[in-house]
């Protein structure tokens, strides 16, 4: 009596078997935009306003929650709610399917990419599901939260093991690998660069399960990305699909800097922060006109003189709203702009700090110069409007040289203020780096109704839904880590 039923219950609109190459390409894109608004809510409205790259004049109860330090579960849990299901699960499917001996390189790349995503998650929230995560297919529906210390220890081990497992005689993802087209040497550099990023995050911790210095040295020894040729960059196009668009441009244009606004009626009343524009202006930074415009009589105007940032904590669309600076449509807001995942700008600045700490024998000033230079040059990837003439770069680099004889703090300030400028758009990484180093020194806003006592938030609260769904594990994490507040410091931030 059930003849034909099994056949009938096969989904005609989907494949029964995975194709790991296709899954990997998708996971690279989804890692950047797990779901619509993923970049907008997480990176732009929150991380970006916390570190005063951006400023949002909207109400504290709405899109201004980040700018003014309020809790908003919908925005702040968004990353948690979508990154596992849309990107990490996909990687988990590859890990389950890539079982043949020929898959070692694919497996290694997948593991490295998974570390990058997992670090982003834990850096936002603190303790998160890690060892028991993405095991819903084996009916583990309520994963425990691992301590951030354990997560960090394991991510570093994963990176090391994955990098070591590459085998040049075996196939790679090839063209499905949007980052390096299957180039194993580049994957190794990317893996070691990520190891450097992960390890450097733990510099506040001494002792315990992660010894930053050891892992930093291991990374340097392995060889990190030091030249632009090895940068991890995702390329995008003008469409036709939204997933073809650079997620930063897609989200910023779609959600705030709408094409019809011309600086006047931005959906969420966003602009560059006064802090950010003031810094660029006061340092004659040639990037100013690359990243920023003021809409002047309906046209984007890059002249330095008229650039002006909007103060954080603004709560009304100011009468002169149109006169404030915002992202340049010719660079940042292009749908086909590249997305910098991890570049030599970041590694060189981190290497400079490592040298400053005496963890490497390299020349900290030289690393610093190369980092700043790379940061300025990276904009050329955005097209003609991003190209900064070499003499301007040289001028800027020499004007802003590392004060190698200055105090440790002075040099840290210089390195990480440059890091803060260099990682514009990678707001999650820039926010994490700011929390770790405290540089640049930012003046918090103290808007009425803020819940941080006028201090810049140190983490995102967990998803409220987890309280109801995964309550036991949620509670264990909160009991261990501290109250589920914006102000609670996560493990590496203590």
């Amino acid at each position: 009596c059930d003849k034909g039923f099994e056949k009938m219950n096969v989904n005609p609109n989907a494949a029964e078997n995975p194709n790991i190459d296709l899954l990997f390409t998708q996971s690279l894109l989804k890692g950047q935009l797990p779901y619509d608004r993923g970049y907008f809510y997480t990176s732009y409205l929150h991380c970006g306003t916390y570190i005063q790259h951006f400023s949002i004049a909207k109400e504290i109860g709405g899109a201004g929650a980040g700018d003014k330090y309020a809790v908003n579960d919908f925005y702040q849990s968004f990353y948690f709610r979508y990154i596992y299901t849309n990107a990490v699960t996909t990687l988990g499917e590859i890990l389950m399917a890539a079982t043949s001996a020929d898959d070692v390189n694919k497996l290694a790349a997948t593991r490295i990419w998974k570390v990058l995503l997992m670090q982003r998650i834990t850096d936002l929230y603190g303790d998160v599901p890690y060892s028991e995560a993405i095991r819903g297919r084996s009916k583990l529906f309520l994963p425990k939260y691992d301590t951030q210390e354990d997560i960090y220890a394991d991510m570093l081990k994963e990176l090391e093991a994955a990098i070591k497992s590459f085998d040049a005689t075996k196939p790679t993802f090839g063209s499905a690998d949007l980052l390096f087209k299957g180039n194993i040497a580049q994957w190794k550099k990317f893996g070691y660069s990520l190891m450097l990023r992960v390890a450097m995050r733990t510099t506040k911790k001494t002792g315990g399960k992660v010894i930053a210095k050891d892992w930093v040295q291991k990374a340097i020894e392995g060889g990190v990305i030091t030249g632009a040729a090895d940068n991890a960059i995702l390329r995008y196009s003008n469409g036709p699909q939204t997933y073809n668009n650079n997620p930063v441009a897609f989200e910023l244009v779609g959600q705030d800097y709408v094409s019809t606004s011309k600086g006047a009626a931005n959906t969420e009343w966003g602009k560059y922060s006064k802090t950010f524009i003031d810094f660029l202006k006061s340092h004659n930074d040639p990037r100013l006109g690359v990243v920023s415009v003021v809409w002047n009589a309906g046209n984007p105007d890059t002249s330095a003189a008229i650039q002006k940032g909007m103060p954080n904590g603004t709560d009304v669309r100011l009468p002169d709203f149109v006169t404030y600076s915002e992202p340049n449509p010719a660079t940042i807001l292009q749908y086909n702009a590249p997305l910098m995942i991890l570049t030599s700008a970041e590694t060189n600045l981190l290497l400079s700090e490592a040298a400053l700490r005496g963890w490497s024998s390299g020349d900290k000033a030289q690393y610093y110069r190369e980092g700043v230079t790379a940061a300025l040059r990276n904009w050329a990837q955005f097209g003609a409007a991003g190209v900064i003439p070499q003499e301007k770069i040289s001028q800027y680099v020499s004007d802003n040289a590392l004060d190698a004889g200055g105090s440790f703090e002075t040099q840290m300030n210089q390195i990480h203020t440059q890091f803060w400028v260099a990682l514009l758009l990678d707001e999650q990484e820039a926010y994490a780096n700011w929390r770790r180093t405290g540089y640049p020194q930012l003046t918090p806003v103290n808007y009425n109704g803020n819940v941080t006592n006028g201090t810049i938030p140190r983490r995102f609260p967990y998803s409220q839904a987890e309280q109801g769904i995964n309550g036991v594990n949620y509670k264990a994490a909160v009991d261990r880590q501290g109250p589920d507040l914006l102000t609670t410091r996560i493990w590496w931030d203590k």
């Binding site: 009596c1 059930d2 039923f5 009938m8 219950n9 989904n11 005609p12 609109n13 989907a14 494949a15 029964e16 995975p18 194709n19 296709l22 899954l23 390409t25 998708q26 894109l29 779901y35 619509d36 608004r37 109400e59 109860g61 709405g62 579960d73 596992y84 299901t85 849309n86 990490v88 499917e93 995560a133 993405i134 819903g136 297919r137 009916k139 529906f141 994963p143 063209s175 499905a176 949007l178 036709p240 699909q241 939204t242 997933y243 779609g254 094409s259 019809t260 606004s261 959906t267 009304v316 669309r317 009425n448 109704g449 409220q464 839904a465 987890e466 109801g468 769904i469 995964n470 309550g471």
Partner: protein
């Protein structure tokens, strides 16, 4: 009823009329037969008339027997030479002959039933009408909880019988037309949470396509025992619709029914009108500030001075109390049905044409339904009978309103617009460039006129329901019957978020084309006979094949190339997704009914189902039912005031499966749209409600181990009629338990999935249903009938998954409140946050902000009212008839986001304290130290009240209500007035629905304003206003 007529050459003709002895009304369809000769007889026609040709052999001694359901059988002798006779029938004292329709359309004597069944006449729905006939069940039947939704005309219904039985499955009953199931799929489930694309409307369900004028009776099989023969989908009860059929008559009978009603909002919010638009006690002084305060009534006292508004125009600062009245139209609905019927001895037909035209409250919204139906019954020979029914619907809906969240929801603005701004100044909602005009700081809170004038939200559907039955009598007591039913629906939907929309300047495009069919084929063999003198046996065995197919092509696009031109060819980024779903259930079943001396009746059924949605190892289940009915009044001598007494009990199991196909194994979907830079993209398949090119973003964990769920019901009841049948009572107690329930549990997204289908749930419903009827007055010119029903259902979630004690069913906008299923509590528990108190009951304030702190997520009530009752009074005085229904629901709660936003925006009168002189709060702080703070209007009072959004309990209200649900005042114009036009009857009625709310506790809203027919009930938020409707009905019979 079958008509058996033989004709002979040499005959005498006897003709006459059959009437109700009580009121003189003609009885249509009574059987008049010659006692002496089997097979000689006739049925009364639409005028109660009959004519019988008596074969010459019997002409000398004619005795006629007259029978009709609900009346005593009567025999009359015809005097020699007499050719006409009027036969009055008495209403049956014991209702012994009363037949009711039961599962599979089998008619049974009511006395034999071991379970509760309620029958409602179709005429109850044809005067004071609802657009969706299921909404009209409200208050009429004990244990049937029909909730009307605030989703606008033509939206879906939610009917729950004996409580929610399943945690995630469909909890609505199975709808059956003429014995065979139809499809009742809801076309679009509206989102409670944030819905940024903004086409959040309810596009109706399957039952909405049935024309009440075509309904002869609606029979409600409330629970497992009654419905077991229908199998899986009947565990929530069955609503059986029997359509009208033609009757044998001379010429063509014509029925015309016309209703015109007007609709107005039933509740206007009682906002504060002391303080006008502004922020922190100040009026706006620039256009920017006016926009910022566009939905904020936090300004100074209203003083009549000129003040700048959102559009830069200065207008007087005066209270605008009529924004709701000024924005909404008076809705109207005009329904006309014309039916023709007739027939010969062997074949009867009925044809009906119906047109329903609605223009709702929301300007520019309309709904039109045209329904054409045909019914045919034919006795091709003594042994062979065929029956057929077909209907075809053409329905067009224009601009269905969005509900709940603000984007694209026209109902948002009129309710929250600052109280000194005239809503009409927002008209037409767009500027010269076609862009939406901002009236508030959030582009997501749409300008309602822009939505009315520019959005499109249209669907049109074609539907065919056809069933055909062939019955062949093998012997007098044995027949076989084959039936097929096909329900076909084709829906085309186009949704446009236009260019120029504030939150989507380049717009969105949606186009769904769905064709769905449900086909059932059934074959049964039926035996009816006597076993000796005292025993009678009825037995049936058969099988059914059900197949359901849904093929959808969904186009989703973002951005239009050329502004204002809305066609897929003009969409920049377009994705096409096919969703093809197939499922089938095969079944074998049988039943045996045994009766002894008309005193004791036993019944047993069994059914085995095989489900295509489960794996072959677990895909079938057998489930039985047994029941007994005992006629106390026949078995023993009871006091003379007891006319009838019966006790009954039954037990049944019904199995079921997940209705989701393809849920067993992980699958992988290629992303539509060409991939990225030449590389194709694949992802684990996301949940089917894909609303975008990138999928829904949500994943359900596959589960190959799913097995059937089981619902077990035990019920017992007593029935009685007393005092010469002037009083009747029917009381039922039941207990229903669903085990191995397949629930879609929300799981931690860190598991990699958002949901999992799990075979673990257990839910219990226990309740009592009481129906009382009485005729306090029964005179020739005046009578008064009253019927009362009430039901109490205690629902409890007994078990969820291992390690899972709560299951999130829904979440409101911005996660302000949640709906959960939680172990030990009723289903649809509203959860949220309360104000935090310390051990001594002091309020705890945050010493940084001075705001009240909140508790962890906690229970705030239940979204489903456990207690419901209705009372219908019917008065007849000569030609006048007045009936009215009062009903109520009690014990439930509602989370009202209308009140929440009214508070955040300073419209709610709860926000008045402190505006004059400041508000001082005292309590303790989070460290337990005494705390006090004064909020002043010019500085921070607004923020204090805005923080209430985090304190869900402030907006959870008792949802109890009593409503004057329905009033019908009819004048039956005496037929003689129209004798010249040969009209049989003309009746004119004043009709009204939802006329008054007699009692409620929730301020500013109608507590029956939930906007979704999903399982999660308990959220109210800017639905289409609930309406009172009133008008005239005309019924003409030719």
């Amino acid at each position: 009823l079958l008509i058996a007529v033989c004709s002979h050459a040499q005959t005498t003709q006897i003709s006459g009329t059959v009437t109700n002895a009580a009121d003189g009304q003609k009885i249509i369809g009574a059987t008049v037969s010659l006692v002496a000769a089997k097979g000689v007889g006739a049925m009364t026609d639409a005028e109660g008339k009959f004519a019988i040709k008596i074969p010459a052999a019997y002409a000398s001694n004619i005795e006629l027997a007259v029978t009709f359901i609900g009346f005593e059988r009567k025999t009359v002798k015809i005097a020699p030479g007499q050719t006409t006779i009027n036969i009055p029938l008495d209403v049956s004292a014991k209702a012994l002959g009363e037949l009711v329709v039961t599962a599979l359309g089998i008619k049974k004597e009511k006395k034999a039933l071991a379970y509760a069944v309620t029958e409602v006449k179709g005429s109850d729905f044809t005067q004071a009408r609802e657009i969706n006939v299921a909404d009209a069940l409200t208050g009429k039947i004990a244990g049937v909880n029909a909730s009307s939704l605030a989703s606008g005309p033509g939206s879906s219904s939610r009917v729950i019988i004996r409580g929610n039985g399943s945690l995630n499955g469909d909890n609505q009953p199975l709808y059956v037309v003429n014995g065979m199931p139809i499809d009742n799929t809801t076309q679009s489930n509206v989102a409670s949470g944030n819905s940024s694309i903004g086409l959040n409307s309810d596009r109706g369900d399957g039952i909405g396509g049935i024309n009440p004028d075509d309904i002869e009776t609606i029979t409600v099989l409330k629970g497992g025992p009654a419905a077991a023969l229908y199998g899986a989908r009947a565990s929530n009860g069955v609503i059986l619709i029997t359509t009208k059929k033609g009757v044998k008559q001379k010429g063509i009978g014509v029925d015309y029914n016309s209703t015109f009603t007007l609709e107005t909002p039933s509740i206007i919010p009682d906002w504060q009108y002391q303080y006008g638009s502004g922020q922190n006690g100040k009026k706006p002084v620039t256009m920017g500030e006016a926009i910022a305060a566009g939905r904020l009534s936090w300004g100074p006292k209203i003083d009549g001075s000129d003040v700048i508004q959102f559009d830069g125009v200065s207008r007087p600062y005066v209270a605008q109390k009529n924004n709701i009245k000024n924005f909404y139209n008076t809705g109207n609905t005009f329904t006309n049905t014309l039916a023709f019927s007739g027939g010969s001895d062997n074949t009867q037909y009925r044809v009906s044409l119906s047109d329903m035209n609605n223009h709702g409250l929301v300007p520019n919204q309309s709904l039109n339904k045209k329904i054409f139906s045909v019914s045919l019954v034919s006795n091709l020979s003594k042994k062979l009978t065929v029956e057929g029914y077909a209907q075809y619907n053409i329905e067009k809906a224009k601009n269905r309103s969005g509900v709940s969240d603000a984007p694209g929801n026209v109902n948002w603005g009129p309710y929250v617009l600052a109280n000194t701004v005239d809503i009409r100044s927002l008209d037409p909602g767009y500027n010269a460039a076609g862009r939406e005009v901002d009236w508030n700081p959030s582009g997501f809170a749409s300008n309602p006129y822009f939505v009315i004038n520019k959005f499109r939200n249209n669907d049109d559907r074609k539907r065919f329901i056809g069933n055909a039955s062939i019955k062949y009598n093998l012997f007098d007591n044995l027949f076989v019957r084959g039936r097929v039913n096909h329900d076909y629906m084709n829906i085309n939907y186009t949704g446009i978020v236009p260019t120029g929309t504030a939150y989507a300047p380049k717009g969105f495009y949606q186009q769904y084309t769905t064709t769905s069919t449900e086909t059932n084929a059934e074959l049964t063999i039926n035996y009816q006979g006597k076993l000796g003198r005292d025993f009678a046996l009825t037995a049936m065995a058969g099988g059914n094949k059900r197949k359901s197919i849904s093929d959808a092509v969904n186009l989703n696009g973002t951005d239009f190339f050329a502004p204002g031109f809305y066609d897929p060819s003009n969409v920049v980024s377009l994705g096409t997704v096919n969703v093809n779903q197939r499922q089938a259930t095969n079944s074998l079943f049988g039943s045996v009914d045994l009766s002894w001396k008309d005193i004791l009746f036993l019944t047993a059924t069994g059914r085995n189902d095989w489900f295509s949605t489960l794996s072959p190892q677990n895909n079938n289940i057998f489930y039985p039912s047994v029941g007994a009915s005992f006629l106390l009044s026949e078995a023993v001598k009871l006091p003379s005031w007891v006319n009838y007494a019966k006790v009954r009990t039954s037990w049944a199991q019904v199995g079921g499966a997940t209705p989701q196909p393809y849920a067993l194994y992980q699958t992988y979907t290629i992303l539509t749209g060409g991939g990225h830079l030449g590389q194709p993209l694949q992802m684990p398949t996301q949940t089917p409600s894909a609303t975008g090119i990138g999928g829904s973003g949500l994943l359900q964990a596959p589960n190959p181990d799913l097995k059937p769920l089981l619902s077990t019901t035990f019920e017992a009841g007593v029935e009685g009629r007393f005092l010469n049948n002037r009083l009747s009572a029917d009381i039922t107690w039941y207990s229903r338990r669903t085990t191995n329930d397949i629930m879609q549990a929300a799981i931690s997204p860190a598991s990699g999935y958002n949901f999992a289908l799990l075979n673990v749930g257990e839910m219990s419903n226990k309740g009592i249903e009481v129906m009382l009827g009485g005729t306090p007055v029964k005179k020739k010119d005046f009578s008064w009938d009253v019927s009362y029903n009430m039901a109490y259902n205690k629902n409890e979630v007994v078990k969820l998954a291992e390690g899972i004690n709560s299951l999130q069913l829904d979440v409101s906008v911005n996660s302000y409140a949640y709906i959960f299923a939680e172990v030990g509590k009723p289903y649809s528990t509203i959860k949220g946050f309360k104000v935090l108190k310390d051990a001594s009951g002091n309020t705890v304030y945050d010493n940084k902000t001075g705001y009240e702190m909140r508790t962890p997520l906690t229970d705030l009530g239940t979204g489903v009212s456990p207690f419901s009752a209705g009372i219908t009074n019917n008065f007849r005085y000569k030609q006048f008839n007045l009936s009215f229904l009062i009903d109520g629901k009690f014990g439930g709660q509602v989370y009202s986001a209308t009140n929440l936003y009214g508070t955040r925006f300073g419209l709610h009168d709860m926000t008045l304290p402190g505006r004059d002189g400041g508000l001082t709060v005292t309590g303790v702080d989070q460290d337990g130290k005494p705390f006090s703070k004064t909020f002043t209007y010019d500085k921070d009072l607004q923020g204090y009240y805005d923080n209430y959004k985090n304190l869900s309990e402030k907006f959870v209200y008792d949802a109890s209500f009593i409503k004057l649900r329905q009033v019908v005042l009819t004048y039956n114009i005496p037929a003689k007035v129209f004798a010249f036009a040969k009209m049989q009857s003309v009746a004119v009625s004043f009709v009204a629905r939802n006329l008054f709310i007699l009692y409620k506790n929730a301020p500013n809203i109608d507590p029956e304003s939930t906007f979704s027919n999903s399982n999660a009930q308990g959220f109210e938020m800017f639905g289409v206003p609930r309406t009172r409707s009133f008008g005239l009905n005309l019924q003409v019979k030719l």
